[in-house]
């Protein structure tokens, strides 16, 4: 197992290196003239050149990349073009918000998704299964802005239970923010739920037909024993991986949901950065997204390895 952990860490680092260079390439290399972006269209050649020197833009690309990476790793994420403040605190605060939203979303989607998937899987081909399956397929397809607006319409405007706007102020605690997190979390979890329940269902159906389940039944074990100790124990392993992988999406991919609800998370920060062509901000958010995804993947791999004796006992 220790060797496995080391190997996975190695892969993680490799992936991060690769992805960071891709991000660097996209954000630094493509847009053209960073100096002009900063100083504006009317800037003179001399001013542009000195800025380029200062920013190190005339150095070869690999050098620029390493410098950028080095700074990033040490916590210097640069200065935002638009706010003229340090990028890091800005991003950190938004990250906190995104984490809160992710937590609530997972809190809804995981239990409900797994429960539905298990119920559907255990009743394959009966009406319960078809209903769950088709619903899941449909729900996954609904774009978040549609479900978001729909939920606002129903729960905020018609019923008045939850606020329509979730723009929380910096420094709001989790508990205080909770009422404003419910609707966006519900919107995001609808998509996740569909995905989780389908994966779980497939897993359960796959395991039920395996010979060892027959062995367990033929030993005269109770239905509960068979289902819980044999089927679910094996069927849920892939689902865990799925949940961990979706973590990356939850941190930085909820752009539309945040937009609909005006929630100050990383997604809206990204939109902000794109709107202003604020490259340091763009880079930081993208890197964070990748980091979240990579670490979540690693956690999933390790957890799966821990659960699966074939890998645990190499």
């Amino acid at each position: 197992m220790p060797r496995y952990v080391l190997r996975r860490l190695g892969f993680l680092l490799l992936t991060l290196l690769l992805t960071s260079s891709i991000i660097f390439a996209i954000t630094q290399v493509l847009p053209g003239d960073v100096a002009r972006v900063i100083l504006g269209r009317e800037a003179g050649e001399a001013a542009l050149n000195s800025l380029r020197e200062e920013l190190g833009l005339n150095d070869p690309l690999p050098v620029q990349y390493l410098r950028w990476l080095g700074n990033f790793v040490q916590g210097d994420w640069g200065e935002s073009f638009s706010t003229r403040t340090e990028v890091r605190p800005l991003v950190q605060q938004r990250l906190g918000n995104s984490l809160m939203l992710a937590a609530v979303t997972l809190g809804i989607a995981v239990p409900v998704g797994i429960a539905l998937g298990v119920i559907a899987g255990l009743n394959e081909n009966k009406w319960v299964d078809s209903v769950v399956n088709v619903s899941a397929l449909s729900v996954v397809g609904l774009p978040e802005f549609v479900t978001g607006i729909l939920l606002i319409e129903i729960f905020a405007f018609r019923l008045g239970i939850f606020p329509a706007n979730s723009s929380i102020r910096p420094g709001t605690s989790f508990v205080e923010a909770l009422p404003m997190l419910i609707l966006p979390a519900l919107t995001a979890s609808l998509v996740l739920l569909g995905y989780i329940s389908r994966m779980t269902r497939v897993g359960v159906i796959g395991e039920i037909s395996k010979p060892y389940v027959r062995t367990a039944r033929l030993k005269g074990l109770s239905r509960w024993s068979v289902t819980y100790r044999h089927v679910l124990r094996n069927a849920l392993m892939p689902t865990i991986t799925v949940i961990a992988i979706s973590f990356g999406w939850l941190i930085s991919g909820l752009i539309v949901v945040e937009n609909v609800y005006n929630y100050p998370g990383l997604g809206r920060l990204m939109l902000f950065a794109i709107d202003r062509r604020d490259l340091p901000l763009l880079q930081a958010v993208a890197m964070l997204a990748v980091l979240a995804f990579a670490f979540a993947n690693l956690a999933a791999d390790l957890f799966y390895a821990y659960l699966n004796p074939k890998i645990r006992l190499q």
Partner: protein, 292 residues
């Protein structure tokens, strides 16, 4: 022990020709519904602009904010544009873009995945690492990143879709190659000295066809979603483009006065995506080896 008895004396089956597949898709309620939806929208895309009662950006000041009526089936929006016509034009817009983008992504991804998987070696390993890294970034984020940086160039959306979806198609194609590579008939081909091109395209690719078709359908659904989401966020498309997502975003401000201007395009997106998903699921169950 392999089954010795099979259905004998059956005429050669056209097991996987498009017509047979279509018939099978209609055999189950869910996939029948999905396929019908897709076909209807395809029809809309094809002839929509021809049958649309009004122009796509035609503003009639005297008829703004009208509820659905025989004159305007989906009503008019705050600028007096006929929502139904705009939805029709939007169908062509989104389907063309999503369709073409997906098609190109599948083409590129398949070619790369097949070659890389067959050759193997360090090149294959390295390429897959790169693709895995790309897959680490959520699609919408990656699209935003690319668009935000490239700016509103023409065909930007198309390029972005291809770029975003090629890696996953390549991975899928590669995994099929890896599983088929060791089968007897591929080794038999190698033993008679077949060229690499022949082996990849005539021996391996047909086996990848069902998986790739299903994957393509799924990517199509994701592409539609992506285009609509980008439109909603106002990235990559500018008004007065009849992008459904954009229409929803525009109508949001006026939702109390002209709710239909929001819900009609929203419904269109939802129904189409659900339809494609159901069809993709049906395809997965229905595509079989010829003769089976």
């Amino acid at each position: 022990m392999t089954k010795e008895s099979t259905t004998a004396g059956v005429t050669p089956a056209r097991g996987w020709r498009p017509f047979t597949v279509l018939t099978r898709l209609f055999g189950r309620p869910a996939s029948a519904a999905g396929t019908s939806i897709v076909l209807i929208f395809l029809l809309m895309a094809l002839i929509g602009p021809l049958i649309a009662p009004y122009g796509v950006n035609e503003q009639i000041p005297s008829e703004t904010r009208q509820a659905p009526s025989p004159d305007h089936w989906f009503g008019t929006d705050h600028l007096g544009r006929d929502v139904f016509s705009r939805v029709l034009f939007g169908a062509r817009d989104i389907l063309l873009l999503a369709g073409l983008g997906t098609f190109l992504a599948v083409l590129a991804g398949t070619a790369i995945g097949l070659l890389s998987g067959y050759r193997g070696g360090t090149f294959d390993e390295a390429l897959m690492r790169v693709f895995d890294s790309l897959l680490a970034i959520p699609a919408l984020l990656l699209a935003l990143l690319l668009l935000g940086v490239v700016g509103p160039a023409r065909n930007a959306l198309l390029i972005v879709i291809v770029f975003v979806y090629t890696p996953i198609v390549a991975r899928v194609a590669r995994s099929v190659v890896l599983s088929v590579k060791s089968k007897g008939f591929v080794q038999a081909a190698r033993m008679r000295g077949e060229s690499e091109t022949w082996i990849i395209f005539r021996e391996i690719l047909p086996s990848a066809f069902p998986t790739l078709t299903v994957e393509g359908a799924l990517r199509f659904s994701y592409a539609i979603f992506l285009i609509a989401a980008l439109g909603f966020l106002g990235i990559g498309v500018q008004p007065p483009n009849p992008n459904w997502g954009l229409m929803v975003a525009e109508a949001r401000e006026h939702v109390f006065q002209t709710p239909w201007a929001l819900w009609m395009p929203a419904l269109a997106i939802s129904v189409l995506v659900i339809g494609v998903n159901l069809m993709a699921d049906g395809l997965r169950r229905v595509l079989r080896v010829p003769g089976a």
